[in-house]
């Protein structure tokens, strides 16, 4: 966890945390952080996500997002068994609602704080990964990216971690997502799940590309789609993400003017994952126009829910 020692007594009129105290400065210097970066601020009793900024009067401050507040001083928060039982109750039953995610975030953080070393060692990156998912659902993308980067340091080859990392980069820092997708997909052994995220990123780029830059981007999307078709582990990507890849292929073909192939891809997508009216509407697209781009945007928004999440027992 990227943690900065902070004093929540030292607040500016705007409610920002002054980070000019020696305890804060030391952490900031050690981690090489600056304005714009996200981090967690903590006085060891409460902890909150914040973005660093410069205040003309106070110097470096943290702009806290109080939706992400975690009480480490809550009664019972120092009892690992109690915290992990409460957490597992939320994680291992019905899929949690969005309203439950802040509490999951809090319990994960409390749990990691008091977990015995052997549990932390046995689950490297697990707390950060699940925190990234909670923060993503809460719409806290900067902090979600921070957590998934932390998880990826511990689990660089875990397909789910890499998938979520690529997906968050796509939402938060698109040029970085394109660069990362190109690097990751450069490996011949990239897992199908990860390749599906790379395709989604590159297809978005192809969609946004100027006319003279479209062809090379489109060629690459179609090439990666063929790789996904032949991937022995493609079932691990799940029906929804395989359908999304066919949708991306169809959209690129549509823009390239290969309408019948595009429709074939759209129909294939709908056959694989006939959920919701959106993909049905996609199957009717004949021209790459504003309407098609709007549908593409809607499908990608819908697909943001299709994040692979397995139960995480702590």
């Amino acid at each position: 966890m990227r943690l900065i020692s902070a004093d929540f007594n030292a607040m500016t009129e705007a409610g920002h945390v002054r980070l000019t105290l020696p305890c804060s400065r030391e952490d900031i210097l050690r981690m090489g952080l600056g304005p714009g970066d996200w981090a967690w601020l903590s006085d060891s009793e409460v902890l909150v996500g914040a973005q660093l900024a410069i205040d003309d009067r106070y110097g470096l401050v943290g702009v806290p997002d109080w939706d992400t507040l975690v009480h480490l001083d809550e009664e019972g928060a120092d009892d690992f068994n109690r915290v992990s039982a409460a957490l597992n109750l939320l994680l291992n039953g019905e899929p949690p609602s969005i309203e439950e995610e802040p509490r999951i975030l809090e319990l994960l953080t409390q749990s990691e704080h008091v977990a015995p070393p052997q549990i932390k060692d046995a689950l490297p990156g697990t707390f950060a990964f699940r925190r990234a998912l909670a923060l993503r659902r809460m719409g806290k993308l900067g902090l979600a990216l921070l957590e998934i980067e932390d998880a990826r340091r511990f689990r660089p080859d875990d397909p789910e971690v890499v998938f979520v990392h690529l997906d968050l980069l796509r939402l938060e820092d698109f040029p970085a997502a394109v660069a990362e997708a190109e690097t990751v997909a450069g490996s011949p052994s990239v897992p199908a799940l990860v390749l599906s995220a790379c395709i989604n990123i590159l297809a978005t780029q192809a969609e946004q590309a100027a006319a003279d830059q479209f062809e090379p981007a489109a060629r690459r999307v179609l090439d990666w789609c063929r790789r996904l078709d032949q991937a022995p582990d493609r079932e691990q990507a799940g029906e929804s993400l395989l359908a999304l890849s066919h949708f991306n292929r169809g959209l690129v073909l549509l823009r390239a003017g290969r309408v019948s192939q595009a429709r074939e891809a759209f129909e294939h997508a709908y056959r694989i994952y006939p959920v919701g009216p959106m993909l049905h509407e996609v199957a009717g697209l004949q021209t790459y126009d504003r309407h098609a781009r709007e549908i593409a945007r809607n499908v990608r928004t819908l697909a943001e829910r299709w994040v692979p999440t397995r139960p995480v027992a702590v």
Binding site: S5, A6, D7, F8, N9, A10, M11, T12, E13, A14, G15, H16, R18, T20, L21, P22, C23, P35, G36, D43, S44, E45, V46, Q51, L52, A53, I54, D55, D56, R57, Y58, V61, V63, W66, L69, H71, D73, E74, E75, D173
Partner: protein, 134 residues
Amino acid sequence: MALIRLVSAADSQGGVLRAGRARLPDDAFVVRCGLPPFRGRPLFTACDDHPDGVYGFSVQCAAALSVEQLVSACRNNTVGATTVARIRDMGFDVVPTSGQWWHATVVVPKGWSQAESERLSLLFEPISNPAARR
């Protein structure tokens, strides 16, 4: 990512120096968010130069406010409370300074020792904060 630059309310009001305000009465309560004796954030490491021109650590303090009112500024479940008089008895001072709510600074000399800071932290009595801000 764009550089984030903020203008504080104090600056937007002409950078008023609040340290020159009326002296806090001896019987005013002083609250510091966190569990005394603040082992998680020792007073010794919580001191800096406040833009109002004093050196020390941050607290909540204002004349005629109850502990309950001052505590409402805190998110911690436990806070420390004392009075201005007790701090002055130890040779330090409390002055209102710019910041959120009833921000004030316990002014200490720059060269103060860790032992002095630990003695000062013992002045703060733990108070539970039933309405910790979420």
